[in-house]
């Protein structure tokens, strides 16, 4: 499945070599392409290089050199030869392709009135492979509820630890419910189309039967829109930032539960984020789930309650 979504994006030269090399797409985390540099495939935390004869090796000297044309071709295909339709995404430095795989872009920024209008002279791409792991949040299900009702949950980890993967599965669990918990309506604001992997309005990942997805919309705006239009019981958002805090507060006032993710490594990191101090002091979030860097995406390191008391820690269960 991932292979079919990823391969067509590449120029015929790289596509042919990748077909020959046939990497393990299920374990592939990201592909990095930089002009005049070898193409790097990151697999299980290890770097592999694609060679001219369609092999994967661990010596960068044998890796094929990426050209400007390779990069341009990938962007053209990812945009469906319609760059104008992705102006907003390109100006924010990413594109999302079918399956929710994100292509990060680097190049020269074109500024207009103090804001980035677009990017040109693309020099590097980072293709991050989305791996939906259905069932990865099952083990932590009980921490998503307080009594019988969903509670405010914040998932925190550095990039690449599986925040989105865990969030996606948590959405599915809350939406479907189970014998002990009734399923609830979940509204997902999927700014980068990574959670649902939406393609032409249809989610490619399983988000449960009571989930409404608003994709391509800035989080703050999307949360308010969903609250007004779809009346969700739970709002799910990925990678919240300081600019989203007022919308989060608004959602809380509406009695909506929040399921969100945030970049961070330790509790200290999180407490030092200025915009979130108020939310912490008011003890808004009822669960803080910290992920750890591991082989499997979405591996939980520890879970705290609203008072930062440990509810679960690796090897220590309370």
């Amino acid at each position: 499945m991932i292979k079919e979504q990823i391969l067509p994006v590449f120029s015929s030269r790289i596509r042919m070599l990748l077909e020959q090399a046939d990497p393990d797409y299920e374990r592939l985390q990201e592909l990095r392409l930089r002009v005049n540099q070898p193409m790097i495939l990151q697999q299980n935390g290890k770097e592999l290089y694609l060679t001219e004869d369609g092999q994967l090796c661990d010596s960068y000297k044998k890796g094929i050199c990426i050209t400007t044309k390779d990069i341009r071709d990938i962007i053209d295909v990812a945009c469906g030869y319609s760059g104008y339709a992705f102006e907003e995404e390109i100006s924010r430095g990413y594109l999302t392709i079918t399956g929710g795989h994100r292509i990060g872009l680097a190049g020269r920024a074109v500024m207009a009135e103090g804001a980035i209008q677009t990017l040109k002279h693309f020099s590097a791409l980072n293709i991050r492979i989305a791996h939906p792991v259905t069932g990865c949040a099952e083990k932590w299900k009980k921490y998503f509820y307080e009594g019988n009702k969903p509670c405010h949950v914040l998932i925190i980890s550095p990039p690449g630890c599986g925040k989105t993967t865990l969030l996606r599965d948590a959405v599915r669990i809350l939406s479907n419910g189970d014998t002990a918990h009734q399923g609830v309506t979940v509204g997902v604001v999927d700014e980068r189309a990574e959670i649902a992997g939406t393609y032409r309005g249809l989610a490619t990942h399983d988000l449960g039967m009571r989930t409404d997805v608003l994709d391509g919309c800035p989080k703050a705006m999307g949360m308010e829109m969903l609250l007004r239009s779809m009346a969700p019981k739970v709002l799910a958002v990925d990678e919240i930032g300081i600019q989203d805090v007022s919308s989060i507060e608004n959602a809380l006032r509406c009695g909506c539960k929040l399921l969100a993710t945030l970049h961070g490594e330790t509790i200290q990191d999180f407490l030092e984020k200025p915009g979130f101090r108020k939310l912490v002091e008011e003890r808004v979030f009822e669960r803080y789930i910290f992920l750890k860097q591991g082989q499997t995406p979405g591996e939980v390191g520890c879970i705290y309650n609203r008072n930062f008391e440990i509810l679960w820690e690796e090897r220590v269960c309370i």
Binding site: P8, V9, S12, R15, D73, D76, V77, C79, G80, Y81, S82, G83, Y84, A85, E87, T118, R200
Partner: protein, 173 residues
């Protein structure tokens, strides 16, 4: 005598039919160009209102226009979606050729299709809408010329068809 009458009627009928068919061809060219212009107008709407990608816009518009444009857009969209069948340039060139040579548009319409090939998908939304505007203006001019031809040559073909048929009939008699 009966054979002569049948021969006369056949010649008259055949020549008149050819004349009417030629006139009809001119009329259908006007219709086709008008449909082409409508196709571009719909494409412009799709790009401007929905910010649709080219393949999405082609697919949506293909359901709202008549043949040969419906099939042309549908197949182009399919090929673009497949992604491995070449770039937009290659797909559009190949499909334009098909449209021009199999569906009877004229050689001069190739310029219009070439204009779309070189500019669609390039730069921002304004570029797309301006390109389609320009193509629509050029199509309007082609429609005006085709209508003029239809009025002048259309009647001429019909009259000539009947006259030639009558002349042949006279010769047979």
């Amino acid at each position: 005598m009966y054979l002569k009458i049948i021969g006369c009627l056949f010649c008259l009928g055949a020549a008149a039919t050819i004349g009417f068919l030629k006139a009809e061809e001119l009329k259908s060219r006007v219709r086709r160009l008008e449909e082409f212009k409508r196709m571009m107008m719909l494409l412009q709407g799709e790009l401007r209102f929905h910010r649709a990608t080219l393949s999405e816009a082609f697919e949506n518009v293909s359901k709202r226009v008549e043949e040969p444009f419906a099939g042309f857009l549908e197949e182009t969209a399919e090929r673009l979606e497949e992604r491995q069948r070449g770039s937009f340039d290659e797909v559009w060139k190949e499909m334009s050729k098909k449209l021009l040579y199999t569906e009877g548009l004229q050689k001069e319409d190739e310029q219009l299709l070439e204009l779309l090939r070189s500019s669609l998908g390039y730069l921002d939304l304004t570029m797309q809408t301006e390109t389609l505007n320009l193509a629509m203006v050029q199509t309007e001019e082609s429609i005006r010329l085709a209508k003029e031809q239809q009025e002048t040559r259309g009647k001429l073909y019909q009259t000539m068809g009947v006259t030639v048929g009558a002349l042949l009939a006279l010769l047979i008699i």
